[in-house]
Symmetry: C2
Subunit: 209 residues, 2 copies
Amino acid sequence: MRGAETPAAAANLEPQTAKGRATREAILRAAEDVFGEQSYYRASISEITRRAGVAQGTFYLYFPDKQAAFVELVHLLNQNLRREIRTAIADLEDRIEMERVGLQTFFDYMADHRALNRIVRESEFVAPDAYRWHYTSFARGYVEGLEEAQRKGQITDAISPETMTWILVGIAEFAGSHWEFWGGGPPPPDVFDEMMTFVGRALRPGREQ
Amino acid sequence: MRGAETPAAAANLEPQTAKGRATREAILRAAEDVFGEQSYYRASISEITRRAGVAQGTFYLYFPDKQAAFVELVHLLNQNLRREIRTAIADLEDRIEMERVGLQTFFDYMADHRALNRIVRESEFVAPDAYRWHYTSFARGYVEGLEEAQRKGQITDAISPETMTWILVGIAEFAGSHWEFWGGGPPPPDVFDEMMTFVGRALRPGREQ
């Protein structure tokens, strides 16, 4: 997969006008809802265009097929989520505080985009390249941040930044698949605090083994 | 979902003869391969029966539809995996040692049943009731084990057994979705050891906060 280049750009379907961009965005918003409710294979392009308020043929002005719109949503999630987290932790110094704020930002974003929460997990089966790209690109910056924190002595160096990264991403991700156990939303504050207790105990220096 | 009762039993399709049971098992083994390779929606009953070496109509003697066979595989995974782990940790006393052996057993089982590894994750989208049932039934025994370990002082009581459970299941599960990052198999020994370092630091008593 080609870095951050989107499928639409690759297929030369990027709209050139403000009206075109608005239509493309309306289709993507509708696609997000429909994929989230119905899962990929049950979702139809006609349902997506119906909700976007455009003719069915309009879809193909912007996306070559259903899969391309799905992959584009994985790309958007990745870009938006990384930007939100980067902004949220920009002024923080302590890595474990960054983990807390980053996790809270992840849950806040997912609460506003519940469908994307499912779409990215379903991409493992529907669009494996997009799934791999999402985790690989997300992990890259995460590893760098943890390396820096190890150099500063803020977290243990008993575990490699790569292993820490996928465990921490895995915990956040699995929480995202368990919202229904918490009444359909993110973990309640006491569970969130326990998650951070678990993570803090694992990461904080001292008691090396 | 009705406890451990399988969909086949519920539909009165449980075979009564040894030959019937063998045919049903052959269909399930073929279904495991086909679902694992092609994902649920691309998998066809005709491909499953072709690989099982039976006529397509034979499928319907044992399963009402494709989804029923898929759900049955989630049930089988759950039952077999729980039995394997129960057996593997039966003679152990220390909870953190149980975590290590349990995780190793999980990876060994998944290495022998790579398709099931994907099937259980895809069930979130294909058969949400089976997915919920799998985690709920798996978590029940896990929580009890952690409660006992807390009473014995083997692990911290700064985190509830329920939160520990889904974090630990989440770490194992996410590792299962990352095998391709490790060359298509379970985490290599150094990564496995780092996982256990992470878990051990989080769970071991002392340094309560």
